[in-house]
């Protein structure tokens, strides 16, 4: 029970800090990081009884250039290079500069996970990572 309470508090704090970051960064929080030339991808987390399934939408990704790290039992980092540089001009937006060559996401897991036993696959430009839940 105490474990559940701790996670709940952690999630509340995580949300709080995200809001603070949003206030500080103002308009530059849409997920297009021009300085780092990276895009924050869309992702989804599904929690099962034995595992957590993380999917990440990675259009234009180079399948051989995807890195997944588990720096802590509640955090997954995904970095994936794109097949080519992507510019705002490619998407019809001319008033913004910047080019993007990778996706980066640091994703908070809602329950603890373990790296050993982790599997992943990339299909239809979507990365799926299966992570066993920590017992």
């Amino acid at each position: 029970m105490s474990h559940e309470r701790r996670k709940h508090f952690h999630e509340v704090m995580d949300e709080y800090f995200k809001r603070i970051e949003h206030l500080i960064e103002g308009p530059f929080t849409s997920g297009w990081n021009e300085a780092a030339q990276s895009i924050e991808p869309l992702y989804n987390i599904s929690v099962g009884s034995h595992e957590v399934i993380l999917t990440v939408d990675l259009p234009y990704v180079d399948p051989g250039q995807v890195t997944i790290k588990v720096p802590a039992n509640d955090t997954i980092e995904v970095q994936a290079n794109t097949k080519r540089k992507i510019t705002f001009a490619d998407m019809g937006v001319r008033h913004r500069g910047g080019q993007f060559k990778c996706y980066r996401a640091r994703i908070h897991m809602p329950v603890p996970v373990v790296e050993s036993g982790m599997t992943s696959k990339l299909k239809r430009g979507i990365l799926q990572v299966n992570l066993p839940r920590e017992v």
């Binding site: 869309l42 999917t55 998407m91 019809g92 239809r124 430009g125 979507i126 799926q128």
Partner: protein
Amino acid sequence: MADEVKIIERGPIPEKFTLITGLPDVGLVGLVAASHMVSSLKMEEVGSVESDLFPPMIVLHDGIPKSPIRLFSNGSLVVIVAETAIPAALTRSLADAIVNWAASRNVETVISIGGMAVQNRQDLDVPKVFAALSDKSLEKRLGDAAEVLGEGYIVGAYALMLRKCAEMKLPAITLLTQSFYNYPDPEAAAAALNSLNKILGLKIEVSDLLQKGEEIRLKAKDVMKRTQTEMARMDKSQEYEIPALYG
């Protein structure tokens, strides 16, 4: 409440027409499909959906300011496309406004295009299209274009539109294609358009849509993110629950 949202006509509306709605929803299936339809059929802009309660925004296309929710027409078709997330609080007003306007303008059929999230979407080569109907008599018209949805919940603007159409005896079909929940899904949009082609006898080519799949997914990322927030607010996840009553 219905007056909170208004349809403003700025061009000729056909005397009799089929109304297609492409609102942002699961997988942005409707938005992507309707946008492709507008460009493929070279439809003309004929109006917009306005409300003082919408976020104070415009969208620029070719340097011209536009409403983010617009009406397009060609022949006997009128398409409503929203290229911004619809605030959950305005869902009912929007649904009422669209159906009331359509009824007042002598619409023949209302067809809404949306997505139906499935967990194994990654493994589906061709997503299946389902249809919720305002009246059983539409099954014949549907033919093999989609499988009739017998039981289940639908949440959001399309749900309210379908119910209102049923109450008003207005023929309505809601096409729901298997799709990703919170990733733009051009393949599902293509499947929905193939189904629409069968129902209306159209010849909308979808190969271009499939070829541009990655570009569409990236361009639609931000709208998808905002739509996801609104879907959470309206408890969209209830669509995956089983209705309790039977018979």
